[in-house]
Symmetry: C2
Subunit: 491 residues, 2 copies
C-alpha cells in the first residue's frame, strides 16, 4: 500500500518529522522553539512518568515543587554553572503590560521593571540549594531525596520536536548527602534506574558510562550517562546523573553538623530525563509504516477491529468482542474496540499501524464461524490466525514477546553498528560510511576531544563503566591510552 510519508532511506530527518506529525504526537507552536504535546504524545509521556515515578519512590525519593523563576544573582554563585546556562535563558525583566498610550495594542509597562531580573529555570540546582540551606542543619536532616516533575526552558537556537526544544518537560532529582561516598552511590543508583527504565520499559539498549570533562554538566564533578544508538547511526543521550561534589553547597553555603559535631559542606547529586526520551523511543523502534511502541509504554496496547458488511454481522461480532474486552482488561491490557461506522477498516488498519498500537485483532464473519480471530503484531507486521480459546492469555504472551523482540532488535542493531577504530583513517571512514558507535583510544585531554569534534563532528558519548583495560594509542595524537572510549555523532 502506498504510504504518504517519507521512508528512512529517503530522508531520515523528514521521516522522523513525519512520524511525529502523522502519529499525532506533537507539533510546533506559535512560540519559537516551544512545542505542543498532543494528547497521544502526552499519553506516552504519562506512561513514562508513572513508571519512573514509581521507580523513584521505590528507591526512597519524594516529590516536591520549587519555583519556576531563579534570581539572576543565583546563577553567578556557581561559576561553571552560569557559564553553561547563561547563553540560552529566558529573562524576565518586567511584571506588567499596559495599553499603548501612543496607539493600538499593549506594551510592556516601563514602570514595572524588576529590581533584579528573573531567569526561567533551565535546571533548578541553584534555587533548590538555596532552599536546602534552610532544611539542613544536622546529619539527622540527611539525606534529602527530592524529585521534581517540571517544565524547564533553554533557549536553543535550532530546535526539533522532542529532541531539542526551548521548553521541555522533565524530572530533576536533587539529593543531599552527608558523605562523598553516599552521594556517589546515589548518582550511580539513579543511573541504573534510568538504564533499567530504558531497557526494560522503553526497549532501548543503553551504554552506561562517564562523560568526559568536556561533556559534563555545568557544575558537576562527574556526570554519568546512558547513551542509545538511533537507526541513523547517531547517538542520543537518554539520561544523565551528576555527582555535584560540594560545589552547590559551597555556592549556597549549605553546611551540616556531622556526627562528630563538626560543620561540613553537604554533598550533592542531580539527575534527570526529559520528553527527549519520546524522541529516542520514536527513532529506535519505528519503521516506514509509522510508529512502533513498546507494549509497556503504549497508551493503547490492543485494538479490535470488526470486519463486516451488514448490521447483523457487526452485532454478531460485537457479541463476541464484549467478553473478550473484559477478559483483556482483567489482565490490565489497554484495549479499544473501534466499531466506528464512518471509517473503512483499511483506513483503521493504517491509522493504528501509524500510531504504533502493538497488537491489532481483526474479526470478520468467517473468523466467527471458525471461532478464530486474525492477530497482527506491529513490530514484525506478521499476521496469524488465533483461536478464541485462550486468546487473552495468548495476547498477553504476545505483548511480552513484542516487548522482548523490539529490545533484541535494537540491541542487534547497536551491536552491528559498534565498531573499533585503531587509526585516524579507520575512525573517519567508519563515521562516514558506517555511522554508529566507534570504540577508539583517546589521550584523555580536552584539547584532543575538541579537535576530534571539530574535524569529524563526533564526540565522546561515554567512557563505558565496563570498558576493559587495554593499552593503545590515541587515534588523533598517538599518545598512550589505557582504554577505549565510545565516540559517535550525536543528537
Amino acid at each position: 500500500m502506498a504510504k504518504s510519508f517519507t521512508t528512512r532511506e529517503e530522508n531520515y530527518a523528514q521521516w522522523y518529522n513525519d512520524i511525529v506529525k502523522k502519529a499525532d504526537l506533537a507539533e510546533n507552536s506559535a512560540v519559537r522553539g516551544c512545542m505542543v504535546i498532543k494528547p497521544y504524545g502526552y499519553a506516552i509521556w504519562e506512561k513514562m512518568q508513572s513508571v519512573l515515578d514509581k521507580m523513584f519512590k521505590d528507591t526512597g525519593h519524594v516529590n516536591a515543587y520549587f519555583p519556576l523563576f531563579i534570581p539572576k544573582s543565583f546563577f553567578s554563585k556557581e561559576a561553571s554553572h552560569v557559564k553553561g546556562f547563561a547563553k540560552e535563558c529566558a529573562v524576565i525583566t518586567h511584571y506588567r503590560l499596559k495599553n499603548n498610550p501612543d496607539g493600538d495594542g499593549i506594551i510592556v509597562d516601563p514602570d514595572a521593571k524588576l529590581e533584579e531580573e528573573l531567569i526561567v529555570r533551565p535546571t533548578s540546582e541553584t534555587i533548590i540549594w538555596d532552599t536546602y540551606k534552610n532544611w539542613i542543619q544536622s546529619y539527622r536532616d540527611l539525606p534529602v531525596l527530592c524529585n521534581q516533575w517540571a517544565n524547564v526552558v533553554r533557549w536553543e537556537m535550532r530546535t526539533r520536536l522532542f529532541l531539542r526544544t526551548a521548553e521541555f518537560l522533565w524530572q530533576e532529582g536533587h539529593t543531599a548527602h552527608a558523605t562523598r561516598e553516599e552521594a556517589i552511590e546515589e548518582t550511580r543508583k539513579m543511573l541504573h534506574v534510568y538504564a533499567d527504565f530504558a531497557e526494560n520499559f522503553m526497549g532501548i539498549p543503553v551504554i552506561k558510562g562517564y562523560k568526559s570533562p568536556n561533556e559534563r554538566f555545568a557544575g558537576a564533578e562527574d556526570t554519568y550517562c546512558i547513551e542509545a544508538l538511533m537507526q541513523d547511526g547517531k547517538a542520543l543521550q537518554a539520561g544523565t546523573s551528576h555527582f555535584l561534589g560540594q560545589n552547590f553547597a559551597k555556592a549556597f553555603d549549605v553546611k551540616f553538623l556531622n556526627k562528630e559535631n563538626q560543620l561540613e559542606y553537604v554533598w550533592a547529586t542531580s539527575w534527570g530525563v526529559s520528553t527527549r526520551l519520546i524522541g529516542a523511543l520514536i527513532m529506535t523502534h519505528s519503521d516506514d509504516n509509522g510508529l512502533v511502541l513498546p507494549p509497556k509504554l503504549a497508551p493503547l496496547q490492543v485494538v479490535i477491529i470488526p470486519i463486516y458488511k451488514t448490521e447483523e454481522q457487526l452485532q454478531a461480532i460485537s457479541a463476541v468482542v464484549e467478553p473478550l474486552i473484559s477478559q483483556l482488561k482483567a489482565k490490565n491490557i489497554t484495549v479499544k474496540y473501534d466499531d466506528d461506522d464512518s471509517k473503512r477498516s483499511g483506513w483503521k488498519f493504517n491509522e493504528y499501524e501509524m500510531k504504533g498500537v502493538p497488537v491489532r485483532i481483526a474479526i470478520g464473519p468467517r473468523d466467527l464461524e471458525q471461532n478464530r480471530v486474525e492477530v497482527a503484531r506491529r513490530d514484525t507486521l506478521e499476521k496469524v490466525s488465533m483461536s478464541m480459546e485462550g486468546l487473552p492469555e495468548n495476547i498477553q504472551a504476545l505483548l511480552d514477546e513484542i516487548q522482548q523482540n523490539i529490545y533484541q532488535k535494537a540491541l542487534k542493531f547497536r551491536e552491528e553498528n559498534t565498531r573499533k577504530a585503531d587509526t585516524w583513517e579507520e575512525f573517519v571512514s567508519i563515521l562516514d560510511n558506517h555511522p554508529g558507535f566507534v570504540l577508539a583510544h583517546w589521550d584523555g585531554t580536552a584539547e584532543t576531544e575538541e579537535l576530534i569534534k571539530e574535524k569529524t563532528k563526533a564526540t565522546i558519548r561515554a567512557i563505558p563503566f565496563d570498558a576493559p583495560k587495554e593499552e593503545g594509542k590515541c587515534i588523533l595524537t598517538g599518545k598512550p591510552s589505557h582504554q577505549r572510549v565510545l565516540f559517535a555523532r550525536a543528537y
Copy 2:
C-alpha cells in the same frame, strides 16, 4: 498539652501560616511570591491530581501540553481577556545573559532582545485557541476535550502560601464544541465534577452557582463556581468553570464546517482548580492541634506507634504489627509503622497530630496481653480501645466515618454561618459580628455590587443554581430583586 503554635481564636491568619509551616506543607522561596511546595504538601497535591485526573478521563477528557509562553500580541486579541491579565504578568524580554564587561557578575545581554515580548502564561486560552485553529476544520473534529496540568504565573502583589501565590500549579481544561448548548452542558458538567470532588474527597461542602458579571473570568460569557466557607467566616472560591461563548474562536478565527456545510465559529469552555485547594483543605478542617485531613486525600492514613521500654517488648509488638500492616495494605490503606528509636512516643503523637494523619494506632505491652490496641482518630481526638480481632475492617470503617464526619462538621458550620439579611443594617451587622455567607437581595447591577464591595469588602460569591425565586428589595438601593444572592468577604 502546650502547643507551640497560634490558636484560631488568637489569630486566624497566623494559625494558618503556622499549620502550613509546622505540618511541613510549603514555604516561601527566595523569589517574591513563589512558594516551595514541600514533600508532604506535594503528596497531598498528588493525591488530588490522581483523583481529579481520573474524573476528567472518566468524563472523556485527554491530557495535552501547551507552551509556557504566550506572545504579547495574542493577549490583545481578546479585549476583556487582556484587561483582566495584563496588569499582573511576568514578561520575558531577553534570551541571554553575559558577563558584565564593566565589572563583576552577569548582566542581561542587550543584544539578545526579543522582537516580540513573551508572557509567562497566567492561563492558556490564547495559546490554546491559536493551536485549536489548526485542529478544527469540520464538525467531525469536535468536540475537542483537552486538559492540561501546568504551572501558571500571575504577578500578585500580596501573596499567601497556597491561597495566592505568583506561581501556582493547576489544571486547566479547554474544550471546543459545535453548539452553544453542548458547551454550556460541558461547563455545567465540569462544575459538577468539581463539586463532587470538593464534597466527596475533600470533605468540603460547596455552593454551586453563577458568578455575577463583575466576578466573571476575563473573556467568559458566564462563569460557574463552587464556593466554600472557611472557619473564619470568609468564603473561598474553590473552582470555576467558564462558558466562553465564541469569544476566543472569534479572536483566533477558529471556524468549522457544520453538518449543513456552513462555516461557523466554535464554542468554548475552560475550567480549572489549583493548589489553592490545599489552602481550602487546611482552613476547612484543621484545628488548634494542627492539620486535619480527609482520609481520601491523606498521604498517610494510618500510623502505628509502638509503646515500649525494652527491646524485647518492641520485638513482641513488631511481631503483631507486621501482619496488621499487610492486612491494612491489602485494603489499600496507606500505613506507616514508626518504630524510630530516636524519638519519644509523645513527640510522635504530636507530630502525626500536627500532620493530620487520620488514624493513630498505639500498641504497648498491656495492649498485647489483652490482644487490643489503642486507636485515636484525628478529627475528634477521641481514643478507643479496639480488639485486634477484625481490626483492619474496623479501621477501614473508621476512615470512612472520619471522611463523613469532617464533611458533616463543615456542613453544619456552613449552615450555622449562612444568614439572611433584609436590610442594609442587618447586612453590615452580620458581616461584622457573624462573618459567614449572607443571603440578600441585590438589584442586579454591577454598580451596586461595586458599591457594596467598597462599603463592606463583601462581594457576591455566587448566584446559587438552586436559589428559589423570591421577590424582595436590594439591600443597598431598595430596587426590586427576584432572588437572593450569596455575599461574603472572601479570600
